[in-house]
Amino acid sequence: MIPVLLIAVPLVAGLLAFLMKDGGARGLALFASLLTLVVAIWSVAEPNGSKLLEINTDWISGAINSRFALSMDGLAKILCLLTAISFPVIFISTWGEQYRKAKNFFGLMLLSQAGMLGVFLAADALLFYFFWEIALVPVYFLASQWGGERRIQATFKFFVYTFFGSLMMLIAIIYIAQHNHDHSFSLGAFYSARGTIKGSEQTWLFWLMFLAFAIKMPIFPFHTWQPDTYEQAPAAVTMVLSGVMVKMGIYGLIRWLAPVLNLGTYIWGDTVSALCITGMIYASLIALRQDDLKRLVAYSSIAHMGLMCLAVFATTESGMQGVMIQIFNHGINIIGLWVIVYLIEKRFHTRKISELGGMAEKSPALTAMLVIVALANIALPLTNGFVGEFLMFTGVYGSKATTYNVVFTVTAALTIILAAVYMLNMVQKVCYGGANKLTEQSLVLKPNEKMVLVVIVILILLVGVYPDPLLQLTRSASESILAKMNFNP
């Protein structure tokens, strides 16, 4: 019941938006996203295992045995909550933005929300694949239509990359489904299939599936689409992409790969972890050298996603819990950063760090927000970032799935230092120093902008000080997935 509502509200509103006037579509989009948020909060309040959180009806039967099955556990709840919070935040923060053919813009935004919620809710592999692709198509149109100068090439690269990855995942999905005795695609059947798939098959199936998730996250060396796309997409779409859409990758890994192909995950754990670490350091080093704010945030996001992926492969309680709440925290933090970058660009007409300066004097409110979000991004204690990263580091250090746990922890921790360097460097150059011609005028926040930033800061501090509700929410999901990942060799 609730899962259907979660998908149907943005879907129906999105389709309606195409038929409306531009102004009406904007209002409808905000209303629909707030309604989705209400439903998402309702779902969080509902206890796990409640009948309201599930639906399972016939879809395609016969030679393809796929059902329309949606279900929600703690992991799905936290991701739906993130998605549901992100969209109103995005709509409100970019309220003044004028789009050509705005009704199409808002229609596509809502459709992409419906697609992403579908990904997080699907309990049937074929349905999951459907939503996985359908979330991509609106984003492709959004970024190519309303993006920057090089938008067509950049977005096309993004589309081809992810489409290729998903096709490889499709092979793995079909292969596993054929292994089930009734060719079922249900999540339960996939979980029980893992006993019947031989280790030699798991070794290559793992890569077919992981490729899709690695491209989405993105993990080094499949990340090259990401900085270009983030830079070229319009602000609102960049927020969707980095706040929610890349989480589809890590979600897929936790839900559909690690517990299903547990042997393959174990065998390739060290290799993937090494890739994650390489990517983290590599992205951090590049972030150090970036002059463009958007690219800086993009590379810092690669580093953070790398850490989450690393923690999944650690296969420990605290690591998994850390990932689950860091998914939420990272989404909030990075949307906060994008909102600030968007405001700076809109007011000063530049994203170049070297051209900015002196913001602290002229616009203290924004500076304060930027500092808090930046600190959360470096994972300072009392911010939400700390909770997640602390748990993940504990998890990686205590990992029994790898013999290199200490090496991984130490090198990964190095990136925290690098993150502090590039983030604080950015804050310093943007906020302090003398104001120049571009940054002379003061940046007064409009009420809608202020509201969004305050909400983000409150979330950052709230989760930073009192993370227990989020941990409670995800505990059972984390335990059940870990139980499936572990095996007795």
């Binding site: 190519s144 067509i152 081809v160 489409f163």
Partner: protein
């Protein structure tokens, strides 16, 4: 049996329609109504109402699979007429003749989809091909059309020769000689060099008819040169019929010898996928691109021939249905365009937003994006191959090719939506957009509920 006789009679009626109908629009209307009649009688045949109890002495065999296929392609032709009847009538002086030829082709389609001896297969294929040679060249004043017709005639005749030789070899290789499919299947066929040679010759000629690599060279030239509505008809209905004949022949007659020819077909499929997709990338005109894309789709359809399991049988019908819908829709639009290079699509979305959306749905379906029939069609093919086992290389190759195909399909989408341009003036009425929307709805519905079509396979009326 209904369809064969009615199609032939309707063909004759259309031939003489010029005598009593002066206006070409009324001839087009008559053709559309006749097509509807043909569809209805075929559906009734499928539902158990046989009007002509002719004893064919086992020469023809009407099963649900073949009849359902006939219904699909007749429905496709009907929509083609609804969209493009005016364009067909405008090709030359005697519009009735073009429609007559199309009905004769459809007569051949039914024979080719329900043959039970190799002789009937040959007759069906020939009845299909000969009117097509004429239709290809029907734009008499256009040199390209003439060239296409001549090329198609010469190559087609050659491939027919190969097929006859192959059939003769097969006949000679069986003890006491037989053309009957069932007898070939059960025991009478012995594997011998003569038999293998016969099968290879038949594969070559059938591969020519479905335009599989390396027998595809005629396809782009002929598709490009023929009048667009004829191209649309050839690329969908005729190709589908040749495919069904291919599958019936190899599934029923040579099914027991599958290990002998499986790898050969797999190699043809791989080459078709690679060459079709890669060549399509380099095309500058949307019409030629679609010609290569139709070659590329044959690669996927060949998976059904390799595997021949339930998934394949269901999948090939779905594939033909959604492929016909998308291709007919796209060609219908191209038939109305003066400039069908990729640049011709620039800015189309701002001028005709509804039409651009429909074209996008067709292209997404051809590219195989979920929620369109094109995805499930490809899905069935791939699943069939994975279920068969041992051909994972072909699966991965096919999906790499599917990723390549994104490039050329999305070029049109990019041109329509993201590139600046005024968009050319198109003669598009409300009815035209309406029928195109119907095609789009069919594509989306089949992409979500394929069983609305495929369940028909299992309903048996007696």
């Amino acid at each position: 049996m209904n369809a064969i006789i009615i199609a032939a009679v309707l063909g004759v009626i259309m031939m003489f329609s010029g005598l009593f109908l002066k206006k070409s629009s009324s001839i087009a209307a008559l053709a559309t109504i006749s097509m509807l009649v043909l569809l209805v009688v075929t559906v009734m045949d499928l539902s158990g109402y046989h009007f002509f109890p002719v004893d064919t002495h086992g020469m023809l065999y009407f099963d649900v699979f073949g009849l359902l296929f006939d219904c699909i392609v007749f429905a496709a032709t009907l929509i083609l007429f609804l969209l493009n009847a005016k364009d067909i009538a405008a090709i030359g002086h005697n519009p009735g003749e073009y429609f007559a030829l199309i009905f004769f082709v459809l007569c051949g389609v039914v024979i080719a989809s329900s043959f039970n001896t190799l002789l009937m297969l040959f007759l069906g294929i020939e009845i299909m091909s000969i009117p097509l040679y004429i239709l290809t060249g029907s734009n008499k004043r256009n040199l390209k059309s003439n060239e296409a017709s001549l090329k198609y005639l010469l190559m087609g005749a050659f491939s027919t020769g190969l097929m006859l030789l192959g059939i003769a070899f097969v006949y000679g290789a069986t003890e006491r000689g037989t053309f009957v499919v069932d007898e070939l299947a059960f025991g009478r066929a012995v594997i011998s060099p003569l038999m293998i040679a016969g099968i290879l010759l038949i594969i070559a000629s059938m591969a020519f008819k479905v335009s599989a690599v390396p027998f595809h060279f005629w396809a782009p030239d002929v598709y490009d040169g023929a009048p667009t509505p004829v191209t649309s008809f050839m690329a969908t209905v005729v190709k589908g019929a040749a495919f069904i004949a291919f599958i019936r022949l190899f599934g029923d007659a040579f099914g027991t010898m599958r290990p002998q020819w499986k790898l050969f077909i797999a190699l043809i499929a791989a080459a078709t996928l690679l060459i079709g997709n890669i060549t399509a990338v380099f095309q500058q005109s949307a019409k030629r691109m679609l010609a290569y894309s139709s070659v590329a789709h044959v690669g996927f359809m060949l998976f059904a021939l390799i595997t021949l399991n339930t998934l394949a049988k269901e999948g090939i019908l779905l594939y033909i249905a959604v492929y016909c819908a998308a291709t007919i829709g796209l060609f219908a639009v191209i038939a109305r365009m003066k400039d069908y290079s990729f640049e011709g699509f620039n800015g189309l979305a701002s001028r005709y937003p509804g039409l651009a959306l429909l074209i996008t749905i067709f292209l997404l379906s051809l590219a195989g994006i979920p929620f369109t029939g094109g995805f499930l069609a490809k899905y069935y093919m791939i699943a069939a191959l994975i279920q068969d086992g041992h051909m994972l290389w072909l699966v991965i190759l096919s999906l790499i090719c599917a990723a390549i195909s994104i490039y050329y399909y999305f070029r049109i989408i990019q041109a329509m939506y993201f590139r600046e341009g005024s968009g050319q003036e198109l003669e598009i009425g409300r009815g035209f957009t309406g029928w195109l929307s119907l095609l789009a709805v069919i594509i989306v519905v089949l992409g979500i509920f394929p069983y609305w079509l495929l369940d028909r396979l299992y309903i048996i009326y007696i």
